[in-house]
């Protein structure tokens, strides 16, 4: 079980409160977690990754275990603590704007 924390606006859009808990088949990676997230909440497609390129949107970051994983390859394994559900995978909107 993977725990995902979404930014406020995406929680509103997906109509969820608190963390999202996902079952991910196979190895937990950015791609597999986001695939599972989007399968369960289709309205989030395109909001975290570009629809076509599947690249992370520029003002979105991925944090976990006090590390910035934003620039990790999408198929790199996530930390064990994320894969086991001990720590959440955080989707973060970059701080900017007004």
């Amino acid at each position: 079980m993977i725990r995902v924390v979404l930014p406020t606006h995406l929680r509103t859009l997906a109509r969820v409160e608190g963390e999202v808990k996902l079952e991910v088949e196979g190895q937990a990676t950015q791609r597999s977690v986001l695939d599972a997230l989007e399968a369960r909440y289709p309205m989030l497609r395109g909001t975290i990754r570009d629809h076509v390129t599947q690249k992370r949107r520029p003002f979105v970051r991925f944090f976990a275990c006090e590390q910035d994983l934003s620039h990790e390859p999408p198929d790199a394994p996530l930390p064990d603590a994320v894969a086991t559900g001990a720590e959440p995978f955080l989707v973060v909107g970059a701080i900017a704007g007004g």
Partner: protein, 392 residues
Amino acid sequence: MSRVRVLVGTRKGAFILASDGKREKWNVSGPQFAGWETYHLKGSPADPNRLYASQTSGWFGQIIQRSSDGGKTWEAPGGGMTIGPSGMPAGESNKFVYDTTPGTGKPLTTHQWYDGTQHPWEFKRVWHLEPSLTDPDTVYAGVEDAALFRSTDGGQTWQELAGLRGHGTGPKWQPGAGGMCLHTILIDPSDPERIYIAISAAGAFRTDDAGKTWKPINRGLKSQYIPDPNAEIGHCVHRIALHRSRPKVLFMQKHWDVMRSDDAGDSWHEVSGNLPTDFGFVIDVHAHEPETIYVVPIKSDSEHYPPEGKLRVYRSRTGGNKWQALTKGLPQRNCYVNVLRDAMAVDSLDSCGVYFGTTGGQVYASADAGDSWAPIVRDLPAVLSVEVQTLP
């Protein structure tokens, strides 16, 4: 008694302002999509309870929202946990992908960038949503970078009408200060195959075959800010309006100049007349008087506020050239707001109501065709768009 519903898009969400036909007391609801830029929302003429909204964010991209109850509740069409009948995953409603397929699409080319170099087409947001006049599930979307999309399934999926972007003049299109946006979509009420669109800064275009092919309709426009002021392409058209009883008569607020066409855009002539400045963004037509039009003059392209700090709507009852300042109820000192291109609308009650919103967050209404004005609200986020529905 008839009533009106004013749909307001702002920098930080959408608001709905409702009143009875007297238009004196208003109920304000919102914000919907709180914190998100809502460039535009508009109701279907075929089903007034069907509304579409463009919700957008620099962080999270483009979301299309749809309401089936007049704006009380909203959904991202197809955003539920379902698989579509074709097996396509749901959640395609925010997917705007330029059509580059061999059969129907056009290759992704480039357009001019601010520095004059060429820049690839990139989708950024939906500026304007124009529901079909007859089918609640059909809606057009004008997007940045400029292109026209259409949905025929209530906003669940979108297909580009690629003939416009592929017109061949794309390398001469360029962004205005707000981006290279397709901001105006006018469907001819007498001929659904005929659609007018406008792009800042490319100009106006018309299709007579429901979007397959397009022609630029900019003859008569003169723009000193492009190398050839009379060029076919490159004009910064801010807004076009028509009266449904005379769809071949078009009125245009260009970057500078207020223009008129009597031949469906084939030729234009200037009708700025005695306006204090002919720069501005909005233009609209009285619901019952096809020769009565409204603009809000703005000082200049580098000073986006009313001249002399006086917020004045100008009305012409002669289809242009002769303009009258309408000031009653509007601030006549120290007013430095702007009125953006999609932020004016008219209702169709017997005494035509006129509405506009400002970047200062005011939405003004006139229940007497502009003779007098009063604010419905004063302190919304900056207003991006105003539409009005006249309801039974």
